[in-house]
Symmetry: C2
Subunit: 562 residues, 2 copies
């Protein structure tokens, strides 16, 4: 930090004299923007003047004062290099505007003028001067600037704040997909505020739960978020949530939801903030109440899953469509925010769980298989469709999955299982090369017969070690508990995991994001909030409500804390 | 379009006279940037001068000429409002620089100077003047400006270009996850260039395939992309791909990959373009060759899937982990690009398929269930874990899945199946309310027994109609072919689908993105490219190679067309 005092003494030939003393403070280039402390306004200003503060005015002042410092006209530079959230108003322009306001209201030319710029001024859209009748004037206030997020509360990673540091998302959600979308963003640095009703949302008790009834699912889906509990049956509660969703600032105005909350329709929110980005997940495109477990049988997977020849449809345990839709919703939010940054336009992105499944059916070629080939795929057990992949029983009852999809995988598999000669003999017998992957699928039963003795002669551990040494593509079948007990990839040996104490539950291995960034790092996982844990903080810091108003909201039950 | 001719006649008291005639063309505000046609350079310029062209120079020229037009100093405005890709160099500055260059090289003061600006000049980093010895000078050329994407070739939506219009991604990939990531971005407007080797990549023949051997899978995973075929075993091919990945422009420098292609390591690419954003998917965190079908058994799902009491592990048919990882990779690319825009820093984001599965095990609460509760979840058939959800056989052999997870779903289910009284009697008998979802899971067998007769007395169609009328959450079990035949959501009745002719395959229903945007629209689905279909176009438009050099690359087999 360097202080420089500059003195000007201006006197004309025909008299008149102006003495100016200016103290300039030079700061080191920051790593990120630190928001200034808000300075209280006078309770009842005698006047208020609003001055349009657009980039043209900033340019003209720069041009008039021949000041090429880019923080005044080059937003990209101001944000990237000097880490300001917006263009900066010139200190001398603030002084000039305040002095002019003082002259208009106090009358006459001031004998003396004192001005102190206590923080960089980033008005974004307009500048407000408040004054009092006693001839004292105050610093303008940041009316439209949002507060850069992510610094308050919670555990932080060693120096790494994640890719989305400085983005704030509001989430009105329950269950899997949208909570997963929000958490995916939270785990790479976004400030994600989940809004629930006091007492908890629809998923507050979703299984698995602990013996004491705490939801392990909820804790898993809401890691690193902030929680505010609002009574959304009240008008004041709905108003609060709408304010939260449409709070100003380039980093805000982002809303993820799968719930039809009163007052939170896109049209009414966009009336408050036209550049709102809202992502809405529905069950189906008609607005019907579909969930993962009903969409999956409807698009056909359970009928194609299970033992060859069986006619029992088998539903999946992993809510795969929810997981896919949640990740797609996160992509949608980022893509729409990217467009907003370039065009200024908000958007309402709608997706339906069933459409996600229907589209994937097309992406995977299954629609083409039915429509073009006329094939209705039957169950193939655990075989890999269209190439070679099969599960084998080992001597100790363990099972192993092996894959021979690419030429390399196939070659390595035969080498590891010492079946090269037997397979060559099979090729000679059937008069067909097994190099094309489709041939391996057609002849999979014969191949499996040749490979099975190798597995049957070994324990799963021995077979796995040999496959691993050969560089084969393989995996053991395990229960969840076996996986946790045996696999270092599912433990804090994997840098993705941390032993974390989740309040109300205890300590267990908790995953961070699977995304590890060389530059932005991988933020450590943070616990899920307690319900309403951040209610007061959010009302104060995001909505900027004074303490009295916050107290009244709690007293009236509109908002609940933890 | 308006033409304005402005005349200046400047004469001093002491003689000297300058006549200037200026024609100004005013164009309507465009919807998007249309790149100008490249104008050929003189073959052998007599001189070349490079002028740094940064925002300070643009600001100073604006200030000197008192020109507040924001396209010269306000990047955000230039991009959002007037749709330029970058700041615009003042026409008079170009004229001035060219005239000065002419004076330096021709000697003396020109008697006459003629200049025609044929398109907006967006140099980004430097301005190059080429000149010839015969005293003619040429328009500067866009040396560093990338070409805004998405306008060339393919079907376009009615007026809607998608959220990611103007982003270019290069993809070096095969199989599911990364191709899906690229396609997800392509379907919402990004220009995605997939690089394959001549003859096709590892997934060129992936099933399902048509009778003629065309891969329906490949067509599904590469919709709307551009294809270039490069022989990556050659140094020239590797050099071409590295140039493609690191091509200049804010919209470029984005690379998605799951393949270890020689010369495409992050470090060597970042040496060419330090702000490269690269997303790399591996099998596991150790770099091992895991695929969806080996990760899934290793983390435990197949052992928990299938009929209650059975000990046969059941693998999924949907490659769920690939689908989740692909969507997460798309999120990662957008998040890293967002950070690059704000900080100027590129990044290398790494994820592993197995980590994606391991993290999801944590997100869903399953790790906590093992570690905290000591529970190893067994198979529960098609039952919804932790609440009520079950499949039922109908009179005609059809099956239906119903869900009673929320209170509303449970209430509606009992009403629709006329079992309210029977359930009330059950509650009395067991002395326990079934209102808590966990109670419904514990007593699911008794509940199922009471609901089963209602289904057994109806055809699946009758039961479905009654459930639908009541607003229940339900779904039929269908094969893929049944789903296509019966469900309008899987047909062009759904605006997500179009009947599309895929070259080499034929016409069938093809899905667009599940993301429907009120503002940015939903681009119609576009066919997958033929291999190498865009090789020439990409070499000319992205790498800006002259025709002769492109011809040589084809002749030498470094590049292949369709």
């Amino acid at each position: 930090m360097v202080f420089v005092r500059v003195g000007h003494d201006i006197a004309g030939a025909g008299g008149g004299r102006l003495t100016e003393e200016q103290d300039i403070v030079y700061l080191a280039m920051p790593d990120r923007f630190t928001p200034p402390r808000a300075i209280p306004l006078p309770e009842a200003p005698a006047f208020r003047e609003t001055v349009p503060m657009g980039p043209e005015r900033l340019f003209r002042f720069s041009a008039a004062t021949w000041n090429a410092h880019r923080i005044h006209y080059d937003l990209d530079y101001a944000q990237r290099v000097e880490k300001y959230p917006a263009l900066i108003v010139h200190g001398p322009m603030q002084a000039m505007l305040l002095m002019e306001a003082a002259m208009r209201h106090a009358g006459g030319v001031p004998a003396r003028f004192r001005f102190r710029g206590v923080h960089p001024y980033v008005p974004r859209c307009r500048s407000v001067a408040d004054g009092r009748g006693d001839s004292r004037w105050y610093d303008p206030v940041q009316r439209c600037a949002g507060r850069p997020s992510g610094d308050a509360g919670g555990n932080r990673v060693g120096g790494m704040s994640g890719l989305l540091h400085g983005m704030r998302v509001v989430e009105g959600s329950a269950f899997v997909a949208i909570p997963l979308a929000g958490m995916t963003l939270a785990q790479i640095g976004a400030e994600v505020i989940r809004v629930d009703r006091p007492g908890g949302g629809l998923d507050a008790a979703r299984w698995p739960v602990t013996a004491a009834g705490q939801s392990l699912f909820w804790a898993g889906m809401n890691k690193g978020k902030k929680s505010i509990a609002i009574d959304l049956t009240t008008e004041r509660g709905q108003e609060l949530m709408a304010e939260l969703v449409t709070a100003p600032g380039e980093e805000a105005g982002l809303y993820l939801t799968n719930l039809p909350i009163r007052g939170m329709a896109y049209a009414s929110l966009a009336a408050r903030r036209p550049d709102l980005v809202m992502v809405t997940l529905a069950g189906d495109r008609h607005g019907g109440p579909q969930v993962d477990y009903t969409v999956n049988p409807a698009v056909g997977f359970p009928v194609a899953t299970g033992a060859e020849g069986s006619d029992a449809p088998t539903a999946h345990v992993l809510p795969a469509w929810d997981c896919i839709a949640g990740n797609l919703a996160a992509t949608a939010l980022l893509a729409a925010e990217r467009r907003r940054l370039r065009t200024g336009a908000g958007d309402h992105v709608k997706l339906a769980l069933k459409d996600v499944a229907a589209a994937m059916l097309g992406h995977l070629g299954i629609i083409g298989e039915v429509a073009v080939n006329g094939v209705d795929r039957p169950k193939y057990g655990n075989a890999l469709y269209g190439a070679y992949g099969q599960d084998f029983a080992c001597a100790d009852g363990g099972r192993i999955m092996v894959i021979g999809l690419t030429s390399r995988q196939w070659r390595v598999l035969l080498k590891a299982t010492e079946t090269e000669a037997a397979i060559a003999a099979l090729e000679a017998r059937i008069g067909e090369s097994l190099k094309p992957e489709a041939a391996r699928f057609r002849h999979r039963a014969a191949i499996t017969e040749l490979l099975a003795p190798w597995f049957a002669a070994r324990s799963a551990a021995e077979a796995g070690a040999a496959l691993q040494a050969a560089g084969a593509t393989w995996g053991p079948f395990r229960s969840f508990a076996q996986a946790l007990a045996e696999d270092p990839d599912l433990s804090p040996d994997n840098p993705m995991f941390r032993m974390l104490d989740q309040p109300g539950i205890g300590a267990y291995p908790v995953p961070a994001s699977p995304l590890a960034c060389a530059g932005a790092g991988r933020p450590d996982p943070r616990p899920a909030p307690l319900l309403g844990q951040h209610s007061e903080e959010i009302l104060a810091d995001v909505l900027r409500l004074p303490a009295g108003a916050i107290g009244a909201l709690f007293d009236d039950g509109v908002v609940a804390g933890r």
